[in-house]
């Protein structure tokens, strides 16, 4: 089991049932241990950054939480409920939303349709074969609202024709439409031009302000440290530290991990 270096500031904020709780979570492929005994609890409304060198197991951890990969051992509790063996769709319906490293939009659907799809799924009536989406129905109205929140007004543009930064905004609008309790953002700044980073950071801040808990994997440390309540650091599949951004900056084990001599 990984022994994360935590201080009192490393404990989750707030009280009550955590948005997500990982207990001794491991994932092994053949003989390779990709994720090793990770323990982490994210409080309701908290935003936690997950950092670590390439290959540390950050995205694998997200895949275990969202159900893309099946855990080898350990438990995933979503709002107190054991979802370890639940399929992706069920976890999503229970309030788990995520983005991926590569942009996860439907490129041949319009911007509005991308968001509408998520909204209609949450609002119900999704299975209606004969019900026509209308300009003034609830799902469409909501989709316009979420697109306004992320400042993306290209409603009729095919999602595949958007710039990378706009695709990221669209992904977040889709997440807003899902009203998730926990959001996993996997490298949201990857491939985004430096010009667009501050704008996207504000959009993520706005997403968090809606009340969702957020976990964010990101290589832009300045973005992570300015955005999150706590930082979890992974290295070789283990979670070696969980602390406030200030605490993490002073943590010797973290500095060693980034310098490449964690074994010492």
């Amino acid at each position: 089991m990984s022994e994360a270096t935590t201080t009192s500031a490393g404990a989750p904020q707030g009280s009550g049932t955590p948005a997500i709780e990982l207990r001794d979570l491991s994932w092994q492929v053949g003989g390779a241990k990709i994720v090793r005994g990770v323990n982490l609890s994210v409080a309701d409304g908290e935003i936690v950054g997950v950092i670590g060198p390439n290959g540390a197991g950050k995205t694998s951890l997200f895949n275990l939480i969202s159900g893309i990969n099946t855990v080898t051992s350990g438990t995933v509790l979503l709002r107190g409920q054991d979802v370890t063996r639940y399929p992706i769709a069920k976890r999503s319906r229970m309030g788990l939303g995520r983005t991926f490293q590569t942009s996860s939009v439907f490129p041949h659907l319009s911007v509005l349709e991308n968001v509408r799809l998520a909204a209609q799924q949450r609002l119900g009536g999704n299975l209606s074969v004969l019900q026509f989406p209308r300009r003034d129905d609830e799902a469409t109205t909501e989709a316009y609202g979420h697109l306004a929140t992320v400042r993306l007004a290209k409603y009729r543009t095919l999602a595949g024709n958007l710039s990378h930064g706009d695709k990221r905004k669209l992904e977040i609008a889709v997440l807003l439409a899902q009203h998730p309790a926990l959001i996993l953002l996997d490298e949201p700044m990857a491939g985004v031009s430096s010009h667009d980073v501050p704008d996207l950071t504000e959009v993520i801040r706005g997403l968090h302000a809606t009340g969702s808990s957020v976990m964010i994997v990101e290589h832009h440390l300045d973005v992570v440290l300015g955005l999150v309540d706590r930082v979890a650091v992974m290295h070789h599949g283990e979670m070696i530290a969980v602390d406030t951004p200030e605490g993490i900056m002073k943590n010797e084990a973290v500095q060693s991990a980034y310098l490449g001599d964690i074994a010492s």
């Binding site: 995520r98 439907f106 074969v129 026509f132 989406p133 899902q178």
Partner: protein, 287 residues
């Protein structure tokens, strides 16, 4: 001139039959990644069902037609639910199951109705001809073309205008992401299979009226060209299937009439398309 018109319109009629099979194949492949080799059996069974009902209660009724559609829909839905769904994400096994089902059902049909084609009695109006620019065109051809156009319009409206159509279009692009939104994509699989079965059911009745017989092998022979049409049009593209159906059938009809190599020219066309534009005429390039 009248020969040209006759070949053109009968080619369109044949293309309509190809489209009725290919539309289901294309939708199923687009959403599920399954090449359904049993699709021809849906058509054959529907054709026999329509014929059996028609000869028992009379030819001047739509009941046989409606029963055929119902049979196509039910058989397709059951196939998806009982055989394809347990093999979810195991595409090779899914293909093998559909190949096996296809072979088994043809043997079953031969056991029930015999291996030889059975000439059917058709409504007199279907055998009569309507003269277009001097060409006497059988009315059954117009019915096939009209039905295919209605199916195409119906499918396009369903896919582009309805809530469930939005899910299917999204699923064709990325099944995993649809699932990540909390949508149970397996329901869409069953629905798409059922839609394919309905189109095959319509195709079965129209094909038997077009050719004037029912046979255990009729679905299989149409399926071969429907696969070619689906690949030429672009796997997963409904509009591509429509365009390719017309192109293949008209080319086949003209070549058959003038040189007798209609099937060969279609296969050559397939080879050219695969070499020059592997994703098909209206298909999307693999990422």
């Amino acid at each position: 001139m009248s020969t040209f018109i006759l070949l053109l319109i009968t080619g369109l009629g044949l293309g309509a039959l190809y489209f009725l099979v290919a539309s289901g194949l294309s939708l199923i492949y687009g959403l599920m990644g399954v090449l359904n080799f049993a699709h021809g059996s849906f058509l054959t069974l529907s054709a026999f069902a329509g014929w059996e009902v028609g000869r028992r209660i009379g030819l001047d009724t739509l009941t046989g037609f409606l029963v055929a559609i119902l049979v196509g829909a039910i058989v397709a839905a059951l196939t998806e639910f009982l055989l394809i769904r347990p093999l979810y994400e195991r595409h090779i096994e899914q293909v093998l199951v559909t190949v096996g089902l296809s072979l088994a059902t043809v043997a079953l049909f031969e056991g029930i109705w015999g291996p030889d084609p059975i000439n059917i009695q058709r409504m007199p109006w279907l055998i009569e001809t309507t003269t277009i620019a001097g060409a006497p065109v059988p009315n059954s051809v117009f019915i096939a073309i009209g039905a295919a156009v209605l199916v195409l319009i119906g499918l396009l409206v369903f896919l582009r205008k309805t809530r469930y159509g939005l899910i299917i279009r999204a699923g064709v692009e990325n099944r995993s992401m649809v699932t990540a939104l909390g949508i149970d994509v397996r329901r869409a699989f069953t629905l798409v299979f059922t839609i394919g079965g309905i189109a095959a059911g319509i195709g079965g009745v129209l094909a038997s009226n077009y050719f004037g017989y029912v046979s255990p092998l009729m679905g299989g022979s149409l399926l071969i060209f429907a696969f070619i049409v689906t690949v030429i049009g672009g796997l997963g593209s409904l509009a591509g299937a429509a365009v390719a159906s017309i192109l293949v059938a008209v080319l086949q009809q003209f070549t058959n009439y003038y040189w007798g190599y209609g099937d060969l020219i279609v296969v050559l066309l397939l080879a050219v398309v695969l070499l020059v534009r592997p994703q098909g005429l209206l298909g999307r390039k693999a990422a």
